[in-house]
């Protein structure tokens, strides 16, 4: 639905050049919620602005719903008619809502319809229908300043949907909201994604957002996408930074001659009592150092850090058993897996929860 290839954006100020995007290849499938996560300055904001060409990429292509936007673009800052028409079918919601304070809620939602030259009656009908959809049917005549942050964002979402978009871009839509409101807005986005088959590309710096609603995710660092894939793919990737951040587990071995193993459960394996089976079958004592369980995209997923007595060499068979059960097993302390152990200390706190 959204594909970018080799997307690069370089800002020039005087003699200095800042590379905000460095060859980003992104592929968002139709009907999925795709989260791009990264710290501020990682280039996520530039990326989402390049998708509807609010920012012109220095090089690379952007294709949305089969239309290559980068080929439509006129020269310079001005968008030509073809690009404007394409944009009117890509919804966008903003961190600071960007509602017109001079217009009522209903008139704000009608603005994109005015741009599309929809007649007055139809505009009003559509706006009220959208307000109903986002649960603000009674606020049509209110002004944005009379609404709470969450309500404003609902209006922003209703406005973004006015052009019947196939794609919704969300630029940190929940970052200005409190946790409870964030949840209700994410739930709304999830519902819209399911009901309308809307493809959602969102950027965020909150791992919780990815955990709550994303089917796929990408991690951005210094203008590059360093990891991407569906959440279960990521969890199945040994040493995946995103998986570790999504499900932080920690805990130090209780002594020498112990083997620490990170086990990731997903799919069917998550529902089976694998650990007690292991304990019974091989008669080993297992201590759990840390664990995290959650539902991601409707599927139960968990990570657990367990400790087995004896060195790795003594535990090859039990570990093999775990792998046989369809679990993903990373052995901590194994030189090849040192990437997994390095941040263990930093994650002890989360793991202790």
């Amino acid at each position: 639905m959204i594909t970018t290839t080799g997307l690069t954006k370089v800002y020039r100020s005087g003699d200095r050049e800042v590379t905000a995007l460095d060859g980003v290849d992104l592929h968002v499938r139709e009907g999925e919620v795709y989260g791009v996560i990264g710290q501020s300055g990682a280039g996520k904001s530039t990326l989402i602005r390049c998708v509807n060409l609010l920012e012109r990429p220095t090089s690379g292509t952007v294709t949305v719903a089969g239309q290559e936007l980068t080929s439509l673009a006129g020269n310079g800052q001005r968008a030509n008619a073809a690009l404007r028409a394409a944009r009117s079918h890509i919804g966008m919601v903003f961190q600071h809502f960007n509602l017109l304070s001079s217009r009522t809620v209903q008139d704000n939602i009608e603005l994109p319809l005015e741009i599309l030259k929809v007649d007055r009656r139809e505009r009003s009908r559509k706006a009220l229908e959208l307000l109903d959809l986002v649960g603000l049917a009674d606020k049509a005549k209110a002004y944005p300043a009379q609404l709470s942050g969450g309500q404003k964002q609902r209006v922003g979402i209703a406005r973004a949907l006015a052009g019947d978009p196939k794609v919704l871009l969300s630029d940190e839509a929940t970052s200005a909201l409190d946790p409870e409101t964030t949840r209700s807005i994410l739930q709304l986005l999830r519902d819209l994604n399911r009901q309308l088959g809307l493809t959602v590309l969102l950027i965020t710096h909150e791992m919780d957002v990815v955990k709550t609603i994303c089917d796929s995710a990408a991690l951005m660092k210094n203008g590059r996408v360093v990891e991407q894939g569906t959440v279960s793919e990521l969890l199945a990737t040994p040493g995946s930074e995103l998986a570790r951040e999504l499900f932080p587990v920690g805990g130090e071995p209780s002594g020498p001659d112990r083997t620490v193993v990170d086990v990731t459960f997903h799919g069917e394996a998550a529902t089976r009592p694998v650990i007690s089976e292991l304990s019974r079958t091989y008669n080993v004592d297992i201590s759990i150092l840390g664990a995290a369980m959650d539902t991601v995209g409707g599927k139960q997923i968990g990570r657990m850090r367990i400790e087995l007595p004896g060195r790795f060499e003594d535990n090859v068979v039990p570990i093999g058993f775990l792998r046989e059960q369809g679990l993903q097993v990373d052995v901590a302390g194994d030189p090849a897996e040192s990437a997994t152990t390095a941040p263990a200390g930093a994650l002890v706190k989360e793991g202790a929860k």
Binding site: L54, R87, N98, L100, D138, K139, Q146, G149, G163
Partner: protein, 259 residues
């Protein structure tokens, strides 16, 4: 001079002043708004960025603003005569007043539009809005309270300028105060004229402030009409599951672009 002698003079000259101020404001707004809009659009980072055009308009506006009004008036006499046929009287004074007011007002428009959150422009662009949409549906409506305040300031400045114009043959209250009050020592008339000017300025300022407050109130909870609206539609928070009574206006820090 008796009151019955003064009365028609005061009456006619007040009308002349109002005539000059009205028409010069009218043309200042007519030409100043497009100029101010152009200054914003062509500025660096503007949606029609064009440094050359921006610099040219900026330079013209600056030149217009740096002329002392009296000098401008005299310098413009041939142009005024060409345009309206006369160079004195209220009609003759309107031309230099307009020429002085356009750049002044254009700068005020520019400042007002600069205060509009750039995020709103971006939102309109993301909906597929072009320059026309951004100017007429975003920039001007959002800046309306500030634009009304700018008109108020311009009208008051023009009342002052029209008095200067009056002193050199433009007619109006300024002319009255100068020819009768100053040259013929009619102190009473001069005082009355000045009081009239003060009343005029205060009235314009009050009217302007009132309008600005009306317009700005659309956004806040303070307005009475809004309270009625809220009473009609109670319990909004339960529908959305959000905590009721959260402070609304303060929770959306707007990022201002420019300065």
């Amino acid at each position: 001079m008796t009151w019955s002698q003064m009365q028609p003079l005061l009456y006619n000259n007040t009308l002349d002043t109002l005539f000059m101020v009205w028409w010069s404001t009218f043309y200042a707004v007519l030409f100043g708004v497009p100029l101010g809009v152009l200054l914003i659009l062509t500025d660096r980072g503007g949606i029609l960025q064009n440094v050359v055009v921006n610099k040219i308009i900026g330079a013209v506006v600056n030149i217009g603003r740096s002329f002392p009004f009296l000098i401008l008036m005299v310098a413009l006499i041939p142009f005024t005569r060409l345009l309206v046929g006369v160079s004195i009287g209220p009609t003759g004074a309107v031309v230099p007043l307009v020429i002085a007011a356009i750049p002044f007002f254009a700068r005020l428009v520019e400042a007002a539009l600069r205060e509009v959150d750039h995020g709103l422009v971006e939102a309109a662009q993301s909906m597929g809005g072009g320059t026309w949409t951004i100017v007429f549906k975003v920039l001007l409506p959002q800046a309306l309270p500030a634009l009304v305040a700018a008109v108020t300031t311009t009208v008051i400045t023009l009342i002052g300028y029209s008095a200067i114009a009056g002193a050199v043959g433009g007619g109006g209250l300024g002319n009255l105060a100068y020819t009768y009050g100053y040259l013929q020592y009619e102190t009473n008339l001069m005082v009355i004229t000045i009081v009239l000017l003060i009343v005029l300025v205060i009235a314009v300022q009050l009217l302007g402030d009132l309008t600005v407050r009306r317009l700005a109130r659309r956004g806040s909870r303070g307005s009475s009409s809004v309270r009625v609206g809220l009473r009609k539609a109670p319990a909004p928070a339960t529908a959305t599951g959000e905590p009721a009574g959260t402070a609304p206006a303060a929770d959306a820090p707007k990022e201002r672009v420019g300065a």
